[in-house]
């Protein structure tokens, strides 16, 4: 029974919390109520049996505990008493516990945690803490921060939600595209941290990629929107190569050298069928296009070559819809594969001349690779050294060092 309740906790606590925040109008009060509800479940379920709808039971229990507590406090505080009166059940419990409402609550929680009036790093911390249920220490470890720093970020974000009056709601349809952009950005940041840890010893932090996949699947189930599914496809395809991206020593393995048996083909097939569907519908959002590029790489082993012409064409499209120097850099690498290293080098030099990505290690890693392929050893070594001085990730540093040593 204890195990069963723990499983329920892992599975349901986030849904219960999302609903309690709506009913109680306060993050901290809802969190306390959630814990009290599970404490009651631990005491009652072994004795009385598991209720038919455990989630609804937990929401009701949490809500009554919280109202109780507000009443107890209210002897000293008339403002809280007002809140308690507002909490008197006016809608019937069935009404506010219907499944549709519970799902809406999860959406409300995501959109509130990713409100653009919160700083992006606060959005990320709050989403991981409240929506994914990670502990503050886990969030801190992932971002190499002190737990106190993360805790403070979360406390400040919750205070801003309360004081500035950030509403607990899913945005209206006309605001949705802009607001959804912020949510997808946070999810992709969480995923990227899992896919390519920005600092430290490991290349991947699979648990973060899993949290990001959970979030985007949740959104995809609740909202019909092509970019959500584009992001899901992108993450499925990138994550499918997780086990092949590093060798036994934790060293980076380049895409062209990866063992395809280590790719997760089930995940690839899910990603490919999503992307086919999206492209047939004419979706061309930035995540969809990036997923389409990842799809070309995923198809390469089966058809025996990488279709670089198609990749360059997709990057051209991506640059037109979302011009960004990082996209331009990736396009330069694809160009070098289609037209040779000289073409790639010209494209990267043009970027640098515009003052873009000068301090970005991958810019110099790309330049170094082009020079190496052109046989310009001295320039290649100089560029590898520049890249080395800018990277903060240990496996990347070892990879660049290996390349540099090969040129000696």
């Amino acid at each position: 029974m204890q195990d069963w309740i723990e499983t329920t906790y892992r599975k349901e606590s986030r849904r219960v919390l999302a609903t309690l925040i709506r009913l109680l109008g306060d993050f901290d009060l809802a969190e306390e109520a959630l814990h009290e509800a599970f404490a009651s479940a631990l005491a009652q379920w072994p004795r009385d049996g598991v209720p038919d709808n455990p989630t609804a039971w937990l929401v009701s229990a949490g809500r009554f505990k919280a109202i109780d507590q507000i009443r107890r406090r209210s002897r000293y505080d008339s403002k809280v008493a007002e809140l308690a009166r507002e909490q008197e059940p006016e809608a019937s419990p069935e009404d506010c516990l219907a499944d549709a409402h519970l799902e809406d609550d999860q959406l409300r929680l995501i959109f509130t945690c990713c409100h653009p009036s919160l700083a992006v790093d606060a959005q990320v911390a709050l989403t991981l803490r409240e929506v994914c249920g990670l502990r503050t220490e886990e969030v801190a470890r992932a971002f190499l921060l002190r737990p106190a720093t993360v805790a403070q970020r979360i406390v400040r974000a919750k205070a801003k939600i309360r004081q500035a009056g950030i509403p607990y709601e899913v945005p209206e349809i006309d605001e949705l595209p802009a607001r959804l952009g912020a949510v997808l950005h946070v999810i992709y940041l969480v995923f990227s941290e899992g896919y390519s840890a920005s600092e430290g010893d490991a290349v991947t932090r699979p648990e973060f990629a899993q949290e990001a996949l959970y979030l985007v699947r949740l959104l995809a189930n609740l909202l019909p929107n092509s970019e959500i599914r584009g992001l899901l496809a992108l993450m499925l395809l990138q994550d499918s190569r997780r086990n092949a991206r590093t060798d036994a020593n934790g060293d980076l393995v380049l895409l062209e050298d990866q063992n395809h048996d280590l790719w997760d083909w089930q995940q690839i097939d899910e990603g490919l069928s999503l992307i086919r569907e999206l492209l047939t519908q004419g979706a061309v959002g930035p995540y969809t296009l990036q997923a389409a590029i990842a799809a070309v790489h995923a198809e390469a082993p089966r058809i025996g070559h990488t279709d670089w012409t198609r990749i360059v064409r997709l990057y051209d499209l991506l640059l037109r819809t979302t011009p960004s120097p990082v996209v331009a850099l990736n396009r330069a690498v694809a160009l070098s594969m289609r037209d040779g290293p000289r073409a790639g080098l010209d494209a990267v030099e043009a970027l640098i001349d515009r003052g873009e990505l000068v301090e970005y290690h991958l810019t110099h890693a790309a330049r170094a690779d082009f020079y190496r392929r052109l046989g310009h050893t001295a320039e290649a070594r100089l560029a590898y050294e520049q890249a080395l001085s800018l990277t903060k990730q240990e496996p990347e540093r070892r990879f660049l060092q290996r390349r540099l040593d090969e040129l000696k």
């Binding site: 004081q163 009056g165 509403p167 945005p171």
Partner: protein, 126 residues
Amino acid sequence: MKYVALVYYDEDVMNNMSQDEWDSLNQECIGCVENLSAGGHFITGEPLHSVDSATTVRVRDGQVTTTDGPFAETREQLAGFYLLEARDLNEAISLAGKIPPARFGSIEVRPVRDLLPEGNAAGGQG
């Protein structure tokens, strides 16, 4: 909830307008106040003279000192304020977006706090 919308812009941009352009922006602002009032959102608000007319007052060790101009040199200067009634931050943001100078400068939206005898927010954490 009550929100203050502080209007900031680069005064040089306004100074470089022709009198007609400047008047027409001001007419837009009159219209904006009318719309906000009709919607029950306008509590009060005033435009300000240029920052050149500002005086900064400080009291240190019981001594009042006054200096010319604003506290700090910034690219944008405070140009006026609105006190708005809005359901929540999302509504306040959408109202602030309709303030005409938002096209030239920026609008800072801040919730108003109650001034209480004790237990005041926004400070006292030491």
